[in-house]
Amino acid sequence: MTPTSVAIIGAGTMGAGIAQWFAQQMLPTVLCDTNEVQLAKALVNIHASWDKLVEKEKLTACQVSQMKSLLETKPIASVSPKMSLVIEAIIEDLAIKKSVFASLDQQFAPTTVFATNTSSFPIALLATSVSPERQKKLLGLHFFNPATLLKLVEVIAGPVTDPSLAQNLYTWFEQNGKEPALCADTPGFIVNRVARSFYGEALRIVSGDDEAQFKEVDRLMREVGEFKMGPFELMDLIGVDINYAVTSSVWEALEKSPRLTPHPLQKKLVDEKRFGKKTKRGFYVYP
């Protein structure tokens, strides 16, 4: 399967980033959202980002002009049923995702491939909302934020996904500048599972709620470990609440493995609404 036209459902940060990346591959791309304000905002931001790339001489004005003409925003109902790939990138809510997939299944041609950008729900579970035929054409394509810069796409085949579909998309992404990773339909896929230790171990190294210790761990991870950011500053950036929710969900799904047990200090911060940068206080205090 080679994507020839793409519709992205959901114009939040991830959806907009994914749409921008596909348009940059010179593919006809449609970005959809039920929230018209959000949709308009996403388009303005993408155009502004492209204009900046022209200023920085990373793209030419001619390339950007083409990309702009290839990227459209529309209500979902107005999208052509003949799109080759539809990617769902809406809120992480199982019931809403299932209902969107059920409705997309009615709208699009039987040949259209469906993908979800979910980071937490099993592909097998989402596939139950579409017809048995479509289930063979439904898979996970998990992008990372910012989708235009981070090269990884986790390509996740569900139990009934046509294996050649996942393999073909893997190859296509590789040929188009991404670094895909093929993975099984398991909790957290690859990154959200393996990365848990980066945070979990840091929380076990410190002896309590002590900013000086957080700073020291972060400094050592950067200066010695060559990580771009330390675990505490990164949790504050991602959102301590979000990080805790992912940890809890992977831990639950993997039969409460002791390796992935959420840490009481992280729970304490969540209970105190110390979510990180967005609330001006997490492991650190922000002005």
Partner: protein
């Protein structure tokens, strides 16, 4: 008063090997790699131990180091051996970076055992999805024995099953 000779020990060894080495050199000043052990425990028992460091999982010649005495001499010793020590007072079993790397590697081995993905795809995902400087399997290559020893030390000291090494990692260590 005579000037004591300095010794730098960066060898891979068991806890008993390290203890035996220190017992043999009671009349020296020793700076020792204790990547897989508890530096506080060694400091408490061996006064000749003047400094500790963690070099064994490092890929960039940078290492955590701590000196309880004679910091300048200890630093010079490590620098002369080609290391860039980063001094810290955070003295924990397995140090900060090695124990974090060991647990990331362990989870990657569990994931591989459970057929989540190939080793190559797991390495690729961690490098390109979250910008890790190396993939877990690239990190572990040739260092499996050290990682297992570190995880076993952590398990022994904490009694926490989170440090139980993956079977496939143990098999590489056999």
């Amino acid at each position: 008063m005579s000037i004591r000779e300095w010794i730098l020990d960066l060898s891979v060894g068991t806890k008993q090997d390290k203890e035996a080495f220190l017992t043999l050199h009671v009349d020296k000043n020793v700076v020792m790699d204790l990547t897989c052990f508890d530096p506080q425990d060694f400091y408490a028992r061996f006064p000749q131990l003047k400094g500790v460091c963690a070099t064994l999982l490092s890929e960039n010649k940078r290492c955590e180091a701590h000196f309880r005495e004679n910091e300048l001499e200890g630093l010079a010793l490590l620098q002369a051996a080609g290391w860039t020590p980063v001094v810290t007072n955070m003295l924990v079993t397995g140090f900060v970076v090695p124990r974090t790397i060991a647990t990331i590697v362990n989870e990657a081995f569990y994931s591989w055992e459970e057929k989540v993905a190939t080793q190559g795809d797991i390495d690729r995902a961690m490098c390109f999805g979250v910008n890790y400087p190396r993939g877990p399997f690239a990190w572990a290559k040739g260092k499996e024995k050290i990682i297992v020893l570190l995880l076993q030390t952590l398990q022994e000291r904490t009694g926490d099953r989170r440090y139980q090494p993956a079977k496939s990692l143990l098999a590489l260590n056999a």
